[in-house]
Symmetry: C2
Subunit: 436 residues, 2 copies
């Protein structure tokens, strides 16, 4: 098999762990596999580099009080655009360091390895510094080194634009690097090593009965972004889906099977519900007495889109007396800004209209491709919540997802009730059965 293995920052966080990764690479190679490895920066290194940039800038602000520019927020944050190119030149060095060290560790253990960085990997991106998109991946150098029997260790997270400037793929971009590489060289699997065991049916910190999922489709994973974000960058899943790459998320601390993220279920019938996500970072906005005339909703959502606010759920009730209520959710951080934008809008019959906002809500998403062939998931969810006396504020459904908005303080209770109600905490997980 041709395997791409990706080791995250904590998996290469110390020299000891780098050596453990090297051993794992060699084990895989000795089992007859060809190996390409993608590494992140050692844990903390990217932040150290960003801090250097921030402190440098702070020096400037201290000296020139008043004409200060904003600090760097983060690699993928809204930094000063002039600096973003330099920030990418700076932070990409973190991955170069871990790639070289891992290659050395493999040598030390008697293997053959070569580390490759940006221009050697041949990953061409657009020029959106700090958050670039991959345009092309020329895998010839990688293929040549594999044919020479080497384990190829690639610095993740980075690419080059058409002029040879270094770009980075945004925080967590090494996952995307790995999946893109796997697609480009036609790997059989892309293994994402991390410090958790896989993707769980829900956040185990909220529901200790959460089980590790053995297999999940890319589609479902995208809908469960908030669950998945802890184990891999969700953008990489879209990539995996587009190119049909099988991704195996697993722990770098043991040899257990993790979670396979696949195009289609292979080993079993699709579960009706595969997992639940709780999103506390939502806020609700309701416009009441909105005149029910064409164009109003367009005005509202255009303004929010221009302001860069990502609206999630939208509900409009049936008209009554020529007016209607319009309810939608926005990220909690954008709530204040959103309300300000709406207040400044020149809506028809503005005086009668009220804007009510509520940050104290949360969203629970129930996801499973099996819903396509099973009806009644929404009805069952309502029943489960009703049995707990939990009021539902909003509902939205898609082909493979039902989302409900409830009061924030009922969020965890609702999640646990749904987890039990949909049978997710029944039955031992693959791992549990092995261990028992």
């Amino acid at each position: 098999m041709l395997i791409v293995q990706k080791f995250g920052g904590s998996s290469v966080g110390t020299l000891e762990r780098i050596r453990a990764c090297a051993q794992r690479c060699l084990d895989a190679q000795r089992q007859g596999n060809d190996l390409v490895v993608v590494v992140s920066a050692m844990a903390g290194e990217t932040n150290r580099l960003i801090k250097l940039a921030n402190r440098l800038r702070a020096l400037g602000r201290a000296e020139e009080e008043g004409e200060g520019k904003g600090p760097y927020v983060a690699v993928d944050g809204a930094g000063d655009p002039v600096h973003e190119r330099e920030l990418d030149q700076l932070v990409s060095t973190g991955e170069n360091v871990s790639a070289a060290l891992l290659a050395m560790a493999i040598h030390d253990l008697g293997g053959e390895a070569i580390s490759l960085v940006g221009h050697q990997i041949g990953m061409i991106t657009d020029r959106t510094y700090t958050n670039a998109r991959i345009k092309e991946l020329r895998g010839d150098r990688i293929r040549r080194e594999i044919e020479a029997g080497k384990i190829v260790v690639c610095a993740g997270f980075q690419g080059l634009d058409a002029d040879g400037n270094i770009t980075t793929l945004g925080r967590g971009g090494s996952d995307t690097s790995a999946v893109a590489l796997a697609a480009a060289i036609g790997a059989d699997v892309c293994e994402i090593y991390t410090d958790v065991d896989g993707v769980y049916t829900t956040d185990p910190r909220i529901e200790p009965k959460a089980r590790k999922i053995a297999e999940i489709t890319c589609e479902e994973m995208l809908e469960l972004a908030s669950l998945g974000a802890k184990v891999l960058q969700i953008r990489s899943v879209a990539f995996a889906m587009k190119y049909g790459v099988a991704v195996h998320v697993r722990s770098s601390l043991n040899n257990n099977e993790g979670t396979w993220i696949v195009s289609e279920y292979r080993s079993m019938e699709a579960p009706v519900v595969v997992g639940l996500a709780l999103d506390r970072n939502e806020a609700k906005v309701t416009l009441t007495n909105v005149p029910d005339v064409p164009g109003v909703a367009a005005m509202v959502f255009n303004r929010l889109a221009e302001a860069g606010v990502v609206v999630d759920m939208i509900i409009q009730n049936a008209s009554r007396d020529g007016t209607t209520d319009l309810t939608f959710t926005v990220p909690e951080n954008d709530l204040e800004r959103s309300v300000k934008e709406l207040e400044s809008l020149d809506l028809p019959r503005r005086e009668a209209l009220t804007i009510v906002s509520d940050p104290e809500i949360c969203k629970i998403s129930i996801v499973g491709v099996g819903m396509r062939s099973h009806s009644g998931v929404a009805a069952k969810a309502f029943q489960i919540l009703a049995a707990e006396g939990i009021n539902i504020h909003m509902v939205s459904t898609s082909e493979i997802k039902v989302s409900v908005v409830v009061q924030e303080r009922y969020g965890e209770l609702a999640l646990r009730a749904l987890h039990a109600g949909f049978g997710l905490d029944e039955g031992p997980s693959a791992e549990t059965s092995k261990a028992s």
Copy 2:
């Protein structure tokens, strides 16, 4: 003017100092100059990276007692050849970091800058990892950025081999990068910023009356390597000589003129003696009763060359009774090895021959291109040393240098006597006259 400025590790050792360098760059640009800047890694960074590699290797030794491999000695040391490529991929990141930070600092101060690393600079080297030689420098990208009004900040110390692998130029290689860049883009001057004021007539720690030299030729600088090594990499001087680059070594802490290293003296007549160097790291080996037949010296020095020992001075006395004495100096660190090699040599009439070694010697070099037209420098040196009662063990002369070997404990006394005797501590230096 088109100026190349090079900032060493201590000049970019902190964010504050990086900001000061940025200000200096902008000042030079605002005076109407075009600017290319070459930076070293922040002080300590290269060593930190080498230490990571060494500690990684030590982990391996700890685990596999007995089959340990040698540690990395240094970037330019005799490391494990298999690792050297990776070591270069690793340590080159240090320069990338300071280049990006300096470009950011220039932006922060209102200037325009762009940082360039290995593949962007276009410096092609051979594939001698950790100690590569420059083969070609394609300056198009640099020229394009200069034409766009930018200060171009290049990561020093590194290049690429023909296959795009990262190479480094050996410790202090950023000086060589800077001079090579200056040659490639036809710069008017290459300014080497460091934490000392320039090159001194001798080591001021030994002779406090040492003066800063205003102007010195490349030729002299090469002969005074041990003096120069404190302020710039001597290899860069050979480069400067070959390509006729004017180098100005100066302090990054003030605006004083430093030392100009030039092809030919411009402003004054060549001094007879420009400087004195004391080299304590020499040892003397004497073969007595060497049969005076052809080929013996060849056997001796071939063997030493094969063993990688660099022999410095060689003296062979006139033959006496068909035998002669052969005396030469080697680096003190190589003495033991050299003697072993010689003992294992199958020399004719080996039984009569004795090998005597003496590490307790030192070499003083008296250098000046003016010697070409002034005779009597050697005679004067002997006279000065005789007046101090110092016995001379060996003498060698070249067109612009007289070297004498004396007992190590007389080294400093000899140096001071010669410094005074050749008039080097008379007269105020350029800097002193400015200050007074």
